[in-house]
Symmetry: C2
Subunit: 698 residues, 2 copies
Amino acid sequence: MSKFPTALKRLVLGRPFRSDRLAHTLLPKRIALPIFASDALSSVAYAPEEIFLTLSVAGLSAYAYAPWIGVAVALVMLVVVASYRQNVHAYPSGGGDYEVAGTNLGGKFGLTVASALLVDYVLTVAVSTSSGVANIGSAIPFVADHKVLFAVAIVALLAALNLRGVRESGKAFAIPTYGFIIGIFGMVVWGLFEVFSGTEMKAESAGFELHAEQSLTGFAFVFLILRSFSSGAAALTGVEAISNGVPAFQKPKSKNAATTLLMMGVLAVTMLIGIITLAIVTDVKYAEDPARQLTGTPAGYEQKTIVAQIAHAVFADFPPAFYYISFSTGIILLLAANTAFNGFPVLGSILAQDRYLPRQLHTRGDRLAFSNGILFLAAFALVLIFAFDAEVTKLIQLYIVGVFVSFTVSQAGMIRHWNRLLAKETDGGVRRRMRRSQAVNAVGLTLTSTVLVIVLITKFLLGAWIAIAAMVAIFLLMTAIRRHYDRVADELAEADQAPAVLPSRNHAIVLVSKLHRPTLRALAYAKAVRPDVLEAVTVNVDDADTRALVADWDRHKFSVPLKVIESPYREITRPVLEYVKRKRGANPRDVVTVFIPEYVVGRWWEQILHNQSALRLKGRLLFQPGVMVTSVPWQLASSEKAKERNRRVRPAAGDVRRGLYVAGRAATAAKPKATEPPKATEPPKPPEPPKPDKEKTG
Amino acid sequence: MSKFPTALKRLVLGRPFRSDRLAHTLLPKRIALPIFASDALSSVAYAPEEIFLTLSVAGLSAYAYAPWIGVAVALVMLVVVASYRQNVHAYPSGGGDYEVAGTNLGGKFGLTVASALLVDYVLTVAVSTSSGVANIGSAIPFVADHKVLFAVAIVALLAALNLRGVRESGKAFAIPTYGFIIGIFGMVVWGLFEVFSGTEMKAESAGFELHAEQSLTGFAFVFLILRSFSSGAAALTGVEAISNGVPAFQKPKSKNAATTLLMMGVLAVTMLIGIITLAIVTDVKYAEDPARQLTGTPAGYEQKTIVAQIAHAVFADFPPAFYYISFSTGIILLLAANTAFNGFPVLGSILAQDRYLPRQLHTRGDRLAFSNGILFLAAFALVLIFAFDAEVTKLIQLYIVGVFVSFTVSQAGMIRHWNRLLAKETDGGVRRRMRRSQAVNAVGLTLTSTVLVIVLITKFLLGAWIAIAAMVAIFLLMTAIRRHYDRVADELAEADQAPAVLPSRNHAIVLVSKLHRPTLRALAYAKAVRPDVLEAVTVNVDDADTRALVADWDRHKFSVPLKVIESPYREITRPVLEYVKRKRGANPRDVVTVFIPEYVVGRWWEQILHNQSALRLKGRLLFQPGVMVTSVPWQLASSEKAKERNRRVRPAAGDVRRGLYVAGRAATAAKPKATEPPKATEPPKPPEPPKPDKEKTG
């Protein structure tokens, strides 16, 4: 059974790529923008909707507040972008908020940010997929009728693609992202032109009547406005992505990243305000509970997304444009979901380096660990999609907490960062620039912490508590892992005691099941090690087989004696363990070396058929003190296949975000670097002093 | 992820038992009967029902044939029992039909029997569970309303119990089996007494009218009678079980087994005839399609099992007896299902010995392999239960083919067996006894092959084709496995070429990630092996860590040089592989020994956190020719826990059937034998000539 998952994975993952195609490729701004900004830009698809939806509770009159809420969200967005431009300059290493918080405020704060971000990746997948399905469903009713099914299928597809190792290619991101931007801008420009030329545009819901669910006054009304603002703040999700991706930018990295960040902020704000404006112009009615709140609807009315309703109104005479808007919105949302699949392993790798997650997540080679991360992400996203029926409105209640926890802690960290630098800096001009940056971050902190409090107050009971509980759980888990690693490190610490004693006596045992070439090789190798005692041992599982083996052995007149261990219950592991234990005896300086001949096969199903007993025995021998276990492999012909297979490498999720790149077939010849054998070098030169701040004030 | 299944299993399986409780315990007849015969005896619960059900298609008049069909089934049963008494004497080793067919007719026939038996084990689970649920459902309507659910739950429970390692205890089998026998006999005796005393007993369905589905004449009617007989022949399933269990009997094994077989046959035939008689006396109407064929039924009528209807009629004034019959019938059917969970690994072990299944199934110690067998059995049984709605009638169409394939091939083998012996035997008395045995087997062959043909003709389209397709698939799979093992054996065969050359030069590499105690131990061990060259190697995954390591190394002034391998993409496996390959160079007589320090931890979740990179590297190094991989373990404190855990052993499914026995807590002190360390003995004495036939004519 242990091998079946591998086979299953092989089916899902397909063959890996060749290994000689790994190289560094840095991203120009025009490619980095679509890759890193798809998450943030796509959120303008659902943020305006959530503003209107929340206001609808108080009836149509409350819609008057929508533009102001939009402006408030836009303002927060611009401030956050300005703040993160400081982060990007100060921390170009790609650690993002986790690094900023950890470096300046201490590990616990870094871990808080990391927990928040991990939870957010799950929610990005769930929310973006659900919203994408809703947008496509606005054009194709069949999809709208089976939202959960389609959302599940898409998450499964994204997981499979990322498990298989599909590189985030610039083109695959650039076309849909720019397509979306052009679509939304085209719609806004054309819509405004129509307004000024006096054409009347009415959304399909324009003629409906919207009824308040409750009539709210005073404090309750203010609370509703704040809640609407909180939902609209979902537009800010994904803004931090660029700060995690600085290493993937072309040089000057920080400057380019900061510029891209600004471009993204301006685009997002413009689209947000544009959509809100058009929604008001076309008289869209978007209700929290359409069945109860809307009258005048046709039978079986399914509320379409606001973007789709606007597109329908603006391009009333030209349906292709409506379909274009719906699909490009749907697709950029799916790209945003994919973003999480790529960002997750990158963060995991950083956390693993700091020993908050299993070490193997840190080394790029560990596809298995990455795969588990992808499966984990997909599984939790699916749980959320099922639990909340793929309803964006329900999911969004969980979403924004994590983002703003991360924003707030990170900005606080930046203020501390500047204080530290200011304490050492004397140059007036530099100090002035630092003070200015610090001021930006201070405004950012004030604003994001305020929003965080508003979000917590207005959404806690609506679902934010689930996200918070998840963050706490992840925080505790990572703390526990770190504590475990620390404890093991203590236990293994070399201490000041005497250096390891040299073994006084090496007793070698060659395990024999049959007298064939692997056994002969193991015997020869064991002799080469020149042990003090050398003996061959076989376990008598089957009397007839054992007799034949003994006869064979005698015929060969080996100089090595063959001992037979009895095993009345046809076990192998236990009798060998007992024998080895007896041989080692009481002297702690004695060593027993067990030589195990192994057949190496190439196909997964062959592995089921071979070496299972050897594997188990090896696993158990490791628990015996003073025992070394030596595998002497014999490569069967079929192992060549596996060797060829192993020589290949697949792109890992998140490679592009780290500036790594697996070239396609065409690029092979141009990348000789990775094919050179690794150099065994002299120890690296003494470290240069770290310069995290070298571009800090740019 | 690789470790989660282990954790899951631990939850399901619970802690294993202590190891010092494994012993041989042989079964007296009174315990062997319930253990081996529960399958055969329990089938009298559904066989009569199927006879009536099939006949019902032609209307009430066809019921007149039921007693004759019953007699025919009983006759076949007695002949098969007589035949198998010969098998048991001739082949006391427990190989059963597989051994008889393979030895006398060749491997292909043995494999045919094995395929048929494997399919039959799956069907035994599905049919027995479904019938058990139907019988309990006759007493508790809630169970009848959720048949599939209860059947699934029971299969899952049986699988879990067998995974956990619950020994088939004599008591657990004896009480319900004897309880069932007493119940059925009590019912038959009391029923007949009532009949003779003139009391009228009417089943709840006595008053209904039964309509023919079609009016059948001529050939079609004969076909129906034959089909009814085929279904009734389901009573014979399980008869062969004793022939697989001879080694578990007390001495004289064959004689005791033969006696038990006869007891079982007599009991089964008596109960079968008794139930059919009572069904006719109480005027039971049992229809294939009650909704269409029965009139006069109350609203929502659910057809109860025949056994339940008879019990209800016979014990009309004493409901406890009715409940007793229903439950004891249900329970013995569940025991019969459990029987398959125990028989399956035993057969798997024998097939593995002949290399038709993975080798590790042969060694008792391999719990994992057994577990996979149990999961496989449960999974397929569940598929059948779902596919056929836990309906005994539908499942039984698939069931009997395998049994009769096995009967027929086995009897043919026995005839060949006697011919072989007769050719060598000269003693007149012995020859006479052999001839008599051969005649019994010949009658058996004639009868079982006739039944097989009838079953094939009457049931092929009704479902038997599924069973046959499954047998063919299993047959092909096992053939492919055997071919693979043979090919590997050829490839590994020592041949007559020169003995393995001794390695000329041993280049030792110690992998270092940090300078801690495991590394120091690995270094010391590597020195003890006195290689020609010894060097330490580290992979530079993280510049800062590597620098610290190099500084540390220099401070210690080891005599061994430390080389740093660059890894621009933070991989470990690939750079090490390339390095090792270069070091070995072109000389085929050179050997590279790679020493890998490993931490040994005790908890599954700790294993996720450690050694993952080492594991992967070890796996890949095995593919390099001329490389030995030596694990140098360092036992962390927590490994003690695992050692304690590993010292325990659980009973494996099928132990009792093989005469093995895991003693309970109370028996520990009394079984010192297994606690002795295994003896490394001189080679076993030259083999005695095998005596498979020593009891052959008893």
